[in-house]
Symmetry: none
Subunit: 252 residues, 2 copies
Amino acid sequence: MDWSIQDIARLAGTTSRTLRHYGEVGLLVPSRIGSNGYRYYDEQALVRLQRVLMLRDLGLGIPTIAEVLAGHRDNAEALLAHLHWLQQEKERLDRQIASVETTIQKMEGGEQLMAEEMLNGFDHTEYKAEVEQRWGTKAYADSNSWWSSMSKADQVTWMHRQKQLAADWQAAAAAGEDPRGTAALALAQRQADWLGSIPGTPGATAGRPTKEYFVGLGDMYVADERFAANYGGVKGATFVRDAMRAYAESHL
Amino acid sequence: MDWSIQDIARLAGTTSRTLRHYGEVGLLVPSRIGSNGYRYYDEQALVRLQRVLMLRDLGLGIPTIAEVLAGHRDNAEALLAHLHWLQQEKERLDRQIASVETTIQKMEGGEQLMAEEMLNGFDHTEYKAEVEQRWGTKAYADSNSWWSSMSKADQVTWMHRQKQLAADWQAAAAAGEDPRGTAALALAQRQADWLGSIPGTPGATAGRPTKEYFVGLGDMYVADERFAANYGGVKGATFVRDAMRAYAESHL
DNA sequence: GCTTGACATTGACGTGACGTCAACGTTTAG
DNA sequence: CTAAACGTTGACGTCACGTCAATGTCAAGC
């Protein structure tokens, strides 16, 4: 008693293509092949097929199914291993779902600009890559975790201080102040205080940035237009850099 | 200011292969290509790459990422659709986990064994390989063909006898019986009768197993946790072994 | 015997996002 | 000058089939 490929496919609730595939990979070969090349399957094959489909529904892959059916592997063991993998996958999904949800929330809150452009990317925390390249991964991580751990309100307050400082810099530059004058020096002092309060800043443990870091930062403000933009373009940034350098020479 | 392919790869935390792939599919083309064919990327490309990786981490596919970045698709909409898909996947996983868990439970509880594993492989017929290795291919073949030739109803009846015997063993062990006591001896007698009625068992022609086989079987019950499980774990199996050994000494 | 429709075959491509050689040219540091 | 490091293109592999394409076979009705 045997059936054609379509017959068992329907009997077992699968497709003929799947059966051919199982034949190819040796998971379930036809019990007989006609002279015309047709595949025929008997009841043994049907039973095996049903087991295969059961295991497949449990999510096992073809190699695992083959092992289990061959008895080379304990059923319970295989299923436990598979269960473990399933649970890990679920955890991964949970994390991803959480990520996507918070991302959507941020966007819907209308604070997208706030959150994305301003809060999460200002000044030296804006460009993870550069910061890491210049001062190492740890510096970025420290600074980033510090920032992330702040409340939104604190972040906004902080942003205001930074914006105010940048505005004062611009004003001083526009007024034609002397980068080595007392006004500029005061601004540089504020800048140093500001930086020194950020964990991750080289020298932050001492409350103020290291001389090298401070000078290098000033150079970067000029060299990189994205940073320069914060201080009114290259011209403003140049003023800031010079002032910072002067301050560093005398106070760091 | 531009970087080589390895540079941005490291900066952004990905691989050069991925960047080439993004170039191929048009998701992120190099900002410049040298006369030597080298790919170079500038800051714009870096920013775009960082966005791509962000969206990728959220689980979006390349086509979706491309659409979002091209602005042809609303970010929130895309993320919501993706979220929906993620949740469906999670549900699917949950169902599969539940399936696998119940399957394992059934197997452990011995219920499913009735339908699938028990009828086709219980006790010493369950592990073809071991049986063949220990007592020869013929022993297995005999026992197996005998089992296969039984009607399903007879198999079920047989299974009940075996299950009952196993349960009685467990009860006796749990009750703290003496493995050399009369109760244990009676159980061992039933066990011997049971084995003796199975063709293929060494000594079966005499209606009872050989002493060596009987003792060896008891040892195996303890040594192999898969068999021990039939008698309530190693502790129960140890009781069974001791009782079988005592019986073998005096009656075989 | 012929047509028709259902069913069969093998072969090959597509899927998703890259990993991983292979074979070979280019840049850079010592 | 050489070796190491880095670059290129091209192509195959992944996983379990779905989906054509081109073609042969069977059963039934005329």
